[in-house]
Symmetry: C2
Subunit: 219 residues, 2 copies
Amino acid sequence: MVEGRKAVSEVFHSDMEVVTILATKAFQEKEKPPFGCDIISETEMKKLSSFTTPPGVVAIVKIPENASGSVDFNAPVILALDGISDPGNLGTIIRTADWYGVSHVLLSENCTDFYNPKCLAATMGSFIRVKPVYGDLKKLLTGKNVYGCYLTGENMHIHTFRYPAILLIGSESHGISADLADCVKTRVTIPAYGQAESLNAGIAAAVVLDRMVSGHTGI
Amino acid sequence: MVEGRKAVSEVFHSDMEVVTILATKAFQEKEKPPFGCDIISETEMKKLSSFTTPPGVVAIVKIPENASGSVDFNAPVILALDGISDPGNLGTIIRTADWYGVSHVLLSENCTDFYNPKCLAATMGSFIRVKPVYGDLKKLLTGKNVYGCYLTGENMHIHTFRYPAILLIGSESHGISADLADCVKTRVTIPAYGQAESLNAGIAAAVVLDRMVSGHTGI
């Protein structure tokens, strides 16, 4: 279930299989969307939506059978997420990955569901372009050039990254799991200038990606 | 109202005036907090809490009368936010500001309330250190060295920032308001390498702050 005008519009224009689009009368009259909608009542929309304030339009879309495709481990930068449990956070990370041209995101099996409506909404349509790959991260990461984001490690402002690189981000509460620490070739850290104990996982992913991706392209 | 163990613990150890701390029996037995709590039922907590899954402990704290104090415009980096309406987003930005040593955040009057419980929770305790200054941004920013974050502008990866600097971030939906555009001395942009149309406002703030603050300290 995809919610909100932008996301629905994106799936409508993608090659995803849209089963139906449902909207409230108010939405249709105000927004005059370019896609056909079945009208449902405000009450029905409230029941259906995963938001307290429903955006007024939802699309029911088939999850692609081979959503992830094959991962190109020669891509300059890949993102791997360990135990990200908040759907809004995961969605924001997917959107950021899309901004930085990261086409695949590896997810540990205890990450929240990529297809959770709150996650999809937070991606702002990027779920169409960024492919989720759920699996055993230990298997996927072993032997690769993995950078792990920790509270202590090499200062990522002055570190010279090597490519292809995989950036591994752990959960807010537990960090990178002990089990995966062996897969990390280089621990990197975002220098702190103030007193916050940590950064939100999505913020940390973005700040390191910005350095890794610009370091690769030189732009 | 401050929710969650970490935030309650931070206010308990701060010089803020705590009126009362309320917790469920389950929280007290599991967490054995170092602060005294009045016990309330799970049902009462559910009614009180602003979360679907209440963290089990809340503190009622007096809003400091002069919360913001005076703004030191000679600080190397100050953050200004225009129309940030999502409390979770604002809280994450406050936490990020704290990480980067930004002590004051200027907020347009249409930003969401800093003291919204969801915002406070998302700051992870940083609301104690970062001071909110609500006001007329036009007055506060005029004549200052203001960098505005836009979708087009100078590439912030190669721009040499001048200090003291103020970073102005606009809302997700409307960007920096037209009214404030005149205050912006330099438009900066985060280069896009993929196809996402934009970044979350909190992500954008963090990525630019990381460059501005490291550019100032050289670390």
